[in-house]
């Protein structure tokens, strides 16, 4: 492994472990105004009138009438308002905000605010949706011909649910407007996204709006777009009350119920098989976008590009739709659309293999893409595809074959076991031409007269370690001790826009810009003076330009690869499952810090196991999210899992720093299909096409099996 991979003490270790790091909720409330939102109790209704209570001195309302700029939160399509004025579109949709010094009194005033609504029909189920927000199509080869000559055709449906990011620190921002300058600081992933939203809502110029990231207690995508909403709301209130800090910090229930989560999906897959090979896939992908478009176009793009998985299927027809319902808007969550389609393709191939009497892993290996093959969007796999070696590693570590063979036999006894395996990729970096056309990242290095270097960009350390890895890259290139190179929580007044902290792009794309900037600085280095160098993003020459209308070209510069095996034991008396083992291998290129990467991989795997096994979130008959606490939305605790076994495989990416590729999202993406494959074996059933798998359901399969045995 590269020498840079050797781990160092993380740059932010000290202040996080000794409790001195300040997260947004830790800033003093003395003198600040507490802000609470007045939310819609209806999934869909017209606002007839708002009756505010009499406000004591120092307490105020803020609503659509107070928005000085446009009443829009800028995300992609600009369809969500800062505060609803006419119509509410989901339960929890913000209509107004109450601000004042005493949180308890603010709560009373929120409760005393009466809004007259006229209820309108609410559409909750995506199959009933009357509005297609995004409808994408692409194809490759001749699908009709392939189906016409097929030996056998398979058709299956797959469902995946909401998943809540469940970061330990809830969403929050603090806004203050003073001397014509608006400052917002808080828990967020993308300072310049927040800045753009605040500019629009407040009608200010970029020079007047300053966004600062505080220490952020996890994001996982949940703090990509959502902070723009609360920043706009708090900023509008701050403009109404100049000189006062307006503090909008969610409690856990509000956060779980009303912030964006992973898109629930329904996928319909139809496959043609000829001479034992899958020759064509006809795929429909439906995502529940909730009431607004938020990030759905980009989530859907990533989802459908991944729809055929890691397999070389020459004929494809793919349609993806993001549909409106009157439910909480969904958004970014680690994996960003891909976990849904990887679940479908992996399960489908497991089932086709079983029907053909083959072991699924052998069937999958016979279909793998390889370097030089066309991608789903007729781009190219430009670089080596190391999946065969990675599968071998995972199978060896998990003793896969012997377990799989043993547990295929009828099982008796209290615990029934199964093992399954899944393969996947994560397109590294922004989808399509986003990096080139929209982000246009800029980075800077400022060398001070004392020889220390400030690394300046807008990417945020939300736990994934970029304060450490960015600094390591720059220090390495300049041969400086790591203590002399530092990356701070970004502040838009001080750092250039190096783009958002999303899409597993920070290290690969922005890290490479920092490396190149460091090369430049080294060439120009003069002792004892301050020097600044800048680098701009350029798309690598090898890429086939991506065309969004036709979904044609290189959707990603490269891919990170993942393989995981999951072993489960089911208690035949209770239906409860135990995760007995999880073995995974990931290729994210060169790890810039091996331990940081391993930590990312383990954490992502566990979120994937939670998604598969226990994280159950749904709305009730009124459209209200039923789960709003860690008591009824269960995420894995330390006792729920054994030691996760994670290995790295390194295929260096020549355009990433020292060969690094995108990493953060990869590990979650394909865990669910491996988990369900193991469950199918243990429960001796086939056709488990949804997650999560509950104990009740497992018990039903186990009892059915018992009855079968008794006959």
């Amino acid at each position: 492994m590269h020498q840079i991979s050797q781990h160092v003490m993380k740059k932010d270790h000290r202040e996080k472990i000794d409790g001195t790091a300040l997260y947004v909720g830790d800033f003093t409330q003395q003198g600040a105004l507490c802000a609470r939102l007045v939310r819609s109790p209806h999934a869909h209704a017209r606002i007839e009138a708002i009756h505010y209570p009499r406000f004591p001195e120092g307490y105020y309302k803020v609503d659509a009438a107070d928005v000085p700029g446009e009443n829009i939160v800028h995300v992609v399509e600009d369809d969500s308002p800062v505060f609803e004025a006419d119509e509410v579109m989901f339960i929890g949709d913000p209509v107004a905000m109450i601000i004042g010094p005493d949180p308890a009194l603010v709560d009373q005033l929120v409760a005393a605010t009466v809004i007259d609504y006229r209820e309108l029909p609410a559409i909750l189920d995506i199959h009933d949706s009357d509005k297609v927000f995004f409808d994408y199509h692409y194809h490759k080869g001749d699908i009709d011909a392939a189906f016409a000559v097929a030996d056998k055709i398979y058709e299956e449906d797959f469902q995946t649910p909401y998943q809540e990011q469940a970061y330990l620190e809830t969403q929050g921002v603090i806004a203050c407007f003073q001397d014509g300058q608006l400052t917002v600081h808080g828990s967020l992933q993308c300072p310049y996204y927040v800045q753009a939203a605040v500019i629009k809502a407040c009608g200010l110029s970029a020079a007047q709006v300053r966004i600062q990231q505080d220490y952020t207690g996890g994001g996982f995508g949940g703090k990509e777009a959502f902070p723009s909403f609360i920043a706009a709301q708090a900023a509008v209130a701050a403009m109404k009350m100049p000189g006062k800090s307006v503090r909008l910090v969610f409690d856990r229930r509000e956060d779980m119920e009303f912030t964006s989560k992973r898109h629930p999906s329904c996928c319909h897959y139809k496959a043609a098989v000829k001479d034992g090979q899958v020759t064509a896939l006809d795929i429909q992908v439906l995502f529940n976008s909730g009431a607004f478009t938020t990030l759905s176009p980009v989530v859907l793009q990533r989802g459908i590009i991944a729809a055929p998985g890691v397999y070389n299927v020459p004929n494809l027809r793919v349609n993806g739709q993001a549909l409106r319902t009157h439910t909480v808007p969904t958004g970014a969550y680690r994996g960003f659309g891909a976990p849904q389609t990887f679940f479908a393709i992996e399960r489908l191939l497991d089932h086709i293999a079983a029907d053909l009497g083959q072991e699924p892993i052998d069937f999958k290996l016979a279909h793998l893409v390889k370097q030089g093959d066309a991608t789903s969007t007729s781009g190219l796999y430009h670089f080596p595809v190391p999946l065969p070696q990675m599968v071998a590693k995972v199978m060896a570590a998990s003793d896969f074959r012997s377990k799989r063979t043993a547990w295929a036999q009828p099982q008796s006894g209290r615990v029934r076991k199964g093992i399954g395996i899944a393969l996947w990729f994560h397109g590294a970096g922004f989808t399509g031409a986003g990096e080139r056309d929209h982000i246009k990242a800029v980075v800077r290095l400022r060398k001070l007269a004392d020889g220390s270097v400030e690394v300046l960009g807008s990417n945020t350390d939300i736990g994934q370690g970029i304060k450490t890895t960015f600094a390591k890259i720059v220090a390495n290139e300049l041969d400086l001790p790591l203590e002399l190179v530092n990356y701070h929580n970004p502040d838009t007044a001080l750092v250039p826009d190096s783009g958002p902290t999303v899409a597993s792009r920070s290290l690969m794309t922005v890290g490479e810009l920092f490396r190149r900037a460091a090369v430049q600085l080294k060439e120009q280095w003069q002792d004892g003076v301050e020097q600044v160098v800048e680098e701009h993003y350029h798309e690598p020459d090898f890429m086939l330009p991506f065309d969004l209308p036709t979904f044609h070209g290189d959707s990603y510069p490269t891919f990170a690869w993942g393989v995981a095996a999951v072993e489960l034991g089911f208690d035949s008396l209770t239906g409860q499952n135990d995760i007995l083992g999880c073995w995974a291998c990931f290729d994210v290129g060169t790890p810039i810090d091996e331990q940081i990467v391993i930590g990312q991989m383990e954490g992502g795997v566990l979120q994937g196991l939670g998604y598969s096994a226990m994280e159950q979130m749904a709305y009730d008959s009124t459209g209200r999210i039923r789960n709003h606490s860690y008591s009824d939305y269960i995420i894995p605790c330390a006792a729920d899992v054994p030691k996760l076994d994670v290995q790295l495989h390194v295929e260096e990416f020549p355009f990433g720093p020292y060969g690094a590729k995108g990493a953060g999202e990869l590990p979650l993406v394909g865990i669910a299909p491996a988990f369900i494959a193991a469950a199918e074996q243990a429960l001796a059933t086939r056709g488990l096409n949804h997650i999560p798998l509950t104990a009740e359901e497992s018990l039903a399969y186990l009892s059915a099996g018992q009855k079968e045995l008794a006959k």
Binding site: I17, G19, E169, Y215, G218, R252, S629
Partner: protein, 158 residues
């Protein structure tokens, strides 16, 4: 109803007056400025607000402040100057067990409570002991490893 009470907070005597039914967490953070105690859920599920009361690990959001009258409350601020903290700190750093950091002050205090009762725990004992402290970032491997390492390297401290 206002109650007067006296507690020892991180070694210092604190006199406090107020509604004794308030959550210890709220009093620590809002009245006493003890923001090293993190608030993750405020309903006893996540463990981010863990503190030690006379050495016992509790979720401070589930403890009425009236119940700490005459007792000793330790937060990470009162623990971070000890040799035991230094052993845990080094072990957490060695394996890069800190990601977003929000669960970490509580996690370290959970480790202290475990090691004080069981100086050489097994992996499974560590997992059971920190099962009330949720972490969404790490997958727990590194945290468990760090606590086991601290128990070995810090031989004699507990």
């Amino acid at each position: 109803m206002k109650t007067q009470l006296t507690l020892k907070l991180n070694g210092k005597t604190v006199n406090w007056e107020g509604d004794s039914s308030r959550k210890l967490l709220d009093v620590l953070r809002d009245d006493l400025g003890q923001v090293d105690v993190k608030c993750g859920c405020r309903e006893g599920e996540c463990g981010a607000c863990s503190v030690l009361i006379d050495g016992l690990l509790v979720n401070s959001c589930m403890f009425a402040v009236g119940a700490v009258d005459g007792r000793e409350v330790t937060t990470i601020e009162g623990y971070r100057d000890t040799d035991r903290f230094r052993a845990l700190d080094k072990a957490f750093a060695d394996v890069s067990a800190v990601q977003c950091g929000y669960c970490i002050p509580g996690m370290v205090l959970a480790a202290e409570a475990l090691l004080a009762a069981n100086p050489r725990p097994t992996d499974a004992e560590v997992r059971a002991a920190i099962s009330g402290n949720l972490c969404r970032c790490t997958g727990y491997n590194a945290i468990v490893e760090a606590i086991v390492e601290a128990s070995e390297e810090g031989e004699g401290l507990w």
